[in-house]
Each structure stands twice: as structure tokens, then as C-alpha cells.
Symmetry: C2
Subunit: 412 residues, 2 copies
């Protein structure tokens, strides 16, 4: 069969992010965005074959399908690297209880909190979980996302966790990276975290690895949840099984969980709000990406992670919504980006790279997505305005069309 060749022409402005790529997405500047005016983009079999000034284009019309993008701006598609997408049930009423002064403990005592989501998720069928996940995935795609991380973690038993990972694996639309988060919280069937962890290490992790349901594993290390030592036990087992590693670390307090996780060459360490200066130095010296989740800090009315200190130290950062029904019930990338700029003093080039190449690194997908570079997937968004209008107006998503492997995933 002949290779499928598509040429996107008449691109007013195209951002490759090639400069950020050569710097491994650490400390990106405006000049790293790789802005090309009057650009063209050649896509062969879903991958970028060539990108450059349209006047240098060699491909002939007889070989390829030509598509004019009408002078618009093109950016690499966004990568959303931390979501709890698969769950059933609604916890909006708990938000009201919290405003009215009820504590997490009081809400948990009447069956609320994560326990509520676990109960509803266990009851939900594959069809129902799929319907919900597809609706939510589409909300991300409409905002220009073509690569989406999806965690399990609301089953907390063997059967439901596997079901959620299967739903994630089968999800239509964006590229999906699946993460097994059995170690999200204590399973109600176990008397303590140690006994649950024992089951995870001896039963679940081998099964997840064998059935290839998860690309990587995640754990929530925090006071009152899994300890640093339990995290080590979990990661040792995951590493033996060849699973990628990520973790929720130092979110609500400095437990030194960032440093512990870095012992295991993780893909990313997520939250890092209370990471110490020493942890930030270790992080900068590592290959790991810090995934910052400011909408979670916004909803929790917490402090924000020290993004400026991290970036200046040479840490690669990514951004994400942390979409979940409890602490960050939003899927809005514009909120995340505006918070990153307003509250974390990140520049627009830093935000753009964090939501593309930085996030690709966070998922160990930097060879495939996150920039418009030769041999990567031809995943991009066509904007309805200039890229300077991104991450400025909460709720505004100037995305006119989204392409995955050169094919329209969404067209308005």
C-alpha cells in the first residue's frame, strides 16, 4: 500500500517547540518555541515527515493530499498527564457541605469522600464507566488534548481496578496512558494499609503487569495514607515487574516522599507542593518531571508549588488538571494555565512547554508527542486566534480543530 501523505499548508504561524526539545524541556524561553511564520507541515502515515517555511516545501501536489489551514496558528497538541478520569457518582453536594464548614472527617463519617466514589464505581458497569469516561475524554479533546493519562484508583479491589483499567485501555479518542493507582487509599476490605499493600504487591501488581493493563503505577504517599517506607516496598515490586513509576508526593506536607520516589527513577513526581529545597535539587539532577496541579491547590485553598524555584533550579515541569471528583473537580486547562501564570509566576512559554513537551516527558512519551518534530506523531491544534491568547481567559479555549496522526479528531 502506498504511504498516506498529507500536507498542511497556509499555516500563519506554527510552534514546533523544537528549542524546548533540545533543552529537554527544562527552563524554556520564548526563543525555544520554534515559531515558524508562513509554515507548512508534512505528515506521512500519521507522523511528522517535514516541518518548515512553506516556501521551502518540496512535496508535490500529485503525491499528497493538500489541506489549507487558512492562515491560522498551529501548536503541538496538549498532553494531559494526571487525571482520575474513571469514576462513577457525583460529589457536588459534598462541595456544599465543605463550604458550610463540615470537615473531611465529618463528610467521611456519613459515607462521603473517596468512599462514596468507590461505592459508586464498584456498582457501575463497564458500559456506564465507558460512557462517563468518553464524555470526559471528549471535554479534554475539545481543549486540544490528544494524549491523556488515566488512573484507576476508585475500585480498591481486584475486580473493579481491573475493570477501570480495561475501560481506560479501550477508550476511544485521544492516546491513552494508563496508570494503576491501587495504592490510592486503604481498601475497605483490609484492616490496615500494610495488609492491603501486601495484597497489592503479591497479587495485583503481578496481574497488572501480566495483563499489560497499566503502563505505570502510582501511589498516594501522605500523612494518614501510605508512608514513605510503604512507598518503597510498592515501588521495589513495581520495578521488578518492569512497570513505570509515578507518585503523588509532598502534596499536603513535606514527607520527603519526592526524594524517596526519586530512588526509583520515576517518570514523574506529582504535586510536590511541599517538596523541600533539597528535594528540588535532587529532582533537578534527575530525569524525572515534576507535575504541578494548581487547580487542586486552588480548590483546597492551599499554597501552590514553588514553580519558579523549580524551573530556576533546572527541574522540568509539567501541568495538569488533576481532574477528580473530590479535590479538583475541573477539566479546564485554561484555569490550570491561568493559575500557573498568576499564582506560580510561570511565563507563557513555560506554560505552553509544560502542557506539551513537559507533560510528554512526564508520561515517558517524549519520543512520540509533545512537539512538532520529525518522526513524532502529527498531533496538533489549529487555533482560532493567536497563541498569546492561550491561558489568559479562564473558560476560553481558542481551539478551532484538533488533529491526531494528521487526522481530524475534532473540527468545529
Amino acid at each position: 500500500m502506498r504511504a498516506k501523505l498529507k500536507v498542511f499548508t497556509n499555516i500563519g504561524e506554527l510552534l514546533t517547540l523544537e528549542g524546548a526539545r533540545s533543552k529537554q524541556a527544562r527552563h524554556p524561553q520564548q526563543s525555544d518555541l520554534g515559531v515558524i511564520k508562513s509554515a507548512a507541515l508534512v505528515c506521512r502515515d500519521g507522523k511528522v515527515e517535514w516541518v518548515g517555511h512553506e516556501c521551502d516545501l518540496k512535496t508535490k501536489a500529485s503525491d499528497a493530499e493538500f489541506i489549507s489551514l487558512e492562515g491560522r496558528t498551529v501548536i503541538p497538541a496538549f498532553v494531559e498527564p494526571h487525571t482520575h478520569l474513571i469514576f462513577a457518582g457525583d460529589r457536588s453536594h459534598e462541595f456544599e457541605w465543605r463550604i458550610q464548614g463540615q470537615t473531611y472527617q465529618q463528610i467521611a463519617a456519613k459515607g462521603g469522600g473517596i468512599r462514596h466514589t468507590v461505592n459508586e464505581t464498584r456498582k457501575a458497569s463497564v458500559a456506564e464507566l465507558t460512557r462517563l469516561a468518553e464524555e470526559r475524554a471528549e471535554v479534554f479533546v475539545r481543549q486540544g488534548v490528544t494524549t491523556l493519562e488515566v488512573k484507576s484508583g476508585y475500585g480498591l479491589d481486584v475486580e473493579t481496578e481491573l475493570r477501570c483499567l480495561q475501560v481506560a485501555r479501550a477508550l476511544k479518542g485521544p492516546r491513552v496512558v494508563t496508570t494503576y493507582l491501587g495504592a490510592h487509599s486503604r481498601s475497605p476490605e483490609f484492616p490496615d494499609l500494610d495488609s492491603y499493600l501486601h495484597m497489592l504487591c503479591n497479587e495485583m501488581l503481578p496481574r497488572v503487569a501480566r495483563e499489560k493493563l497499566a503502563d505505570r503505577v502510582d501511589i498516594y504517599v501522605e500523612e494518614g495514607f501510605f508512608s514513605v517506607e510503604q512507598g518503597r516496598t510498592y515501588f521495589r515490586r513495581a520495578q521488578e515487574l518492569g512497570l513505570g513509576i509515578t507518585a503523588h508526593v509532598d502534596q499536603l506536607s513535606d514527607t520527603d516522599s519526592t526524594a524517596m520516589t526519586l530512588e526509583f527513577a520515576p517518570q514523574s513526581v506529582d504535586h510536590v507542593v511541599f517538596a523541600s529545597d533539597a528535594s528540588i535539587r535532587k529532582l533537578a539532577a534527575s530525569g524525572a518531571t515534576a507535575v504541578l496541579l494548581p487547580s487542586s491547590d486552588f480548590y483546597l485553598r492551599m499554597q501552590y508549588p514553588k514553580a519558579r524555584a523549580m524551573i530556576e533550579a533546572g527541574v522540568r515541569v509539567a501541568l495538569s488538571t488533576d481532574f477528580n471528583p473530590g479535590t479538583s473537580p475541573t477539566q479546564d486547562l485554561s484555569l490550570v494555565g491561568v493559575l500557573a501564570r498568576l499564582e506560580m509566576r510561570m511565563t507563557l512559554p513555560e506554560v505552553l512547554v509544560a502542557y506539551t513537551l513537559g507533560a510528554a516527558f512526564a508520561l515517558a512519551r517524549e519520543a512520540h508527542v509533545g512537539s512538532l518534530s520529525v518522526d513524532k506523531y502529527c498531533d496538533f491544534s489549529v487555533l482560532s486566534g493567536s497563541w498569546s491568547e492561550l491561558f489568559y481567559s479562564v473558560g476560553r479555549h481558542p481551539i478551532q480543530a484538533v488533529y491526531k496522526s494528521g487526522e481530524p479528531l475534532l473540527r468545529s
Copy 2:
């Protein structure tokens, strides 16, 4: 001609807000929402003729068009009571300059700030201003808004201010309340605020009143802008001319401008972030509504108004986006509502009433919109979920359809 009669049936849950209406929208509770399960709504010539339990419905099918709302939830349409909708130009680059540490003064010195918007707006044609305003109005309508306040204020000369008011008056889609905000800032053609104010009082206000272009007038009273005494001069003249009164007051500092404005029986006093306890007491005793604009405080990283103190004191509050290209470049009602709940500790019933009946009072339209009451316009939204899902997830607008005078303004 026979009256046009429409009956909306099969409404799973309908919120009339009738209880809030009887309390004049002051201190609304959950019980004031007027929740009716299995409801029907009768609309005659665009107005509510009857609302109640469907089993009590008397209208016969032969008299009317029957429309099933498929068991969904119906709420009164939102009223958006404070927007600077009419402007040209883009100031997203200034947002980046501010993140990078440039002051408002530095940005103004290179032609940025309000001056930039004024220059671009003066250059824009009626057609261009209309296109921009219609796009923006549609963003509000999609979120369930059918009544929209629109201010002038980016012309600062006779010709442009009138043009902007004409564009606002002619706007298609939602009901529009127009507000003349010539006193937004000093006009560049005048050496000082006093001489500009003299022109406003002697030329512009009479003309605005005569041509019936504005329903009311507004002024920005703040240190470095118009003084309390200048506000008094402006309002005296507006009152003589029979124009309604509103004002930007006590936004960045306590200038006692809330108290001064209350001398003139205003429809609303807006921002009131730094209003003193004494001003709050005066406000509670007045007929005026406090319009709170938390997305502006969010973007400015300021404190939020003391909503709880106001509500407890008996002040009627409304909420609004303050949509403008500088300090609040968002049109997102969900952000406003989430900020009201998270940062101002407003309950969900308070937020709902603030964005409907409270906002209707703020525009002196409480006899016509803001609740689903007999003889008011039949303006409502059909939700895709429960009303408890509103103002919880930033960026999520569970609006399935929007009706104005019983006719679909938007249907998804």
C-alpha cells in the same frame, strides 16, 4: 390575533426562586429556591402564566403547544449584571508583561492598559464592534444568560461612546441593559478629570438621556481616578436627567464611595471590596444591590469582598464576571460561582439567587426577570444534570437549552 400559549411539561425539577422573591433576594436559604418536583410551566405571549405541579395543570392540549422537557431540571435564566462587553483589540500580551513583573505604570507608558483598548475601539467600525459583541454575548447565552448588562467606557469621546451604546442597544440575542460609563477614566483629549467631567455633565449626559441610549450611568470612583466629590457632581446631573445610577466603588481602597453613591438611590454598587462596616450597614438599609465581582479580585490577586458579612447584615448581593480586557478577561460564570463559594463562603442557594434575582434587582429588572414567577418573562435554562452540579466544576456548564420568552435562544 390569538395569544400564543406554550406548555412545558415533564420537568423533573423546577426552581422558581419564589421564596427568594418574597424576601427581595436578601439572605436566601435553600427553602427559598421554590423547588417543584414534576413541574409544568405555562407561557402566554412570552410571559409566565402559570407554574406548578404538573398534576395541577389545567391547560388543555387543544389550546396550546405542548413541549416535553424530558424529566430535566429547569432554573430561571441567569442575569449577568456587569460587563464591559464592547471593545476592540487584544491585551493578552499585557497579561504576560505583568507576570514578568512590569507594573501598570510601565505598561501604560508603552501605550498599554485602558489606553490601548480605547485606541483600538475608536478605530473599530460599527460592524466590527457588533461582530465582537455578538460573539461575546453568545458565550454568555451558552451559559444560560438571557439578560446582559453592557457598559460603554472604551471610547472616552462623544462619537465612540455613542457608537458603543448603539452597538449595545442593537445587540441580538439576550435582553440588554445599557450603561453609559463615560466616566471610566480620563479622556486623553482633556488635561484633567475636572474638565472631562464638565463635558460629560454638560454635553454627554444630556445627549445620552435624550437619545435614550443608556438605561443608566456608571462611574469609576477610586484613588487616582474620579473622586467622591466628582462622583457626586456626575450623579446629581444624571439624576436630574432621570438616568439610573450604578458605580464602581471601594474596589482597590476604602474611599467611602459606597456611602456617597447610596445618597443617590443607586440600582447597584459594584465591587465593594473595601467597603467599611459602616458602608455595609448603610447598604443593608438601602434598596441597592451589591454586585460582587470575584473573578476581578482573582485576576488582581486582591482580597475578596466580605460577602458573608454583607449577607448576614441583610445586603442583597449579585454576582458577575466583570468581563473586560484588562482586570477580568473571563466570561466564565462557573469561575465566578466557584470563587463565590470557595473564597467568599457563599452557599449554593445564595450563589443561584445572586446570579438570577439578585442580579435582576441590580439592574432594576426584578419585575421582569430573575425568577420563574407569574407575569415575568418566561426565561429559563434546561440543565443536563442536577442544579447541585452548578458552580462546582470550573469550565463545566451543564446547560442543555436556554429559552427567552418561551422561545429557544440556544438548543444543544
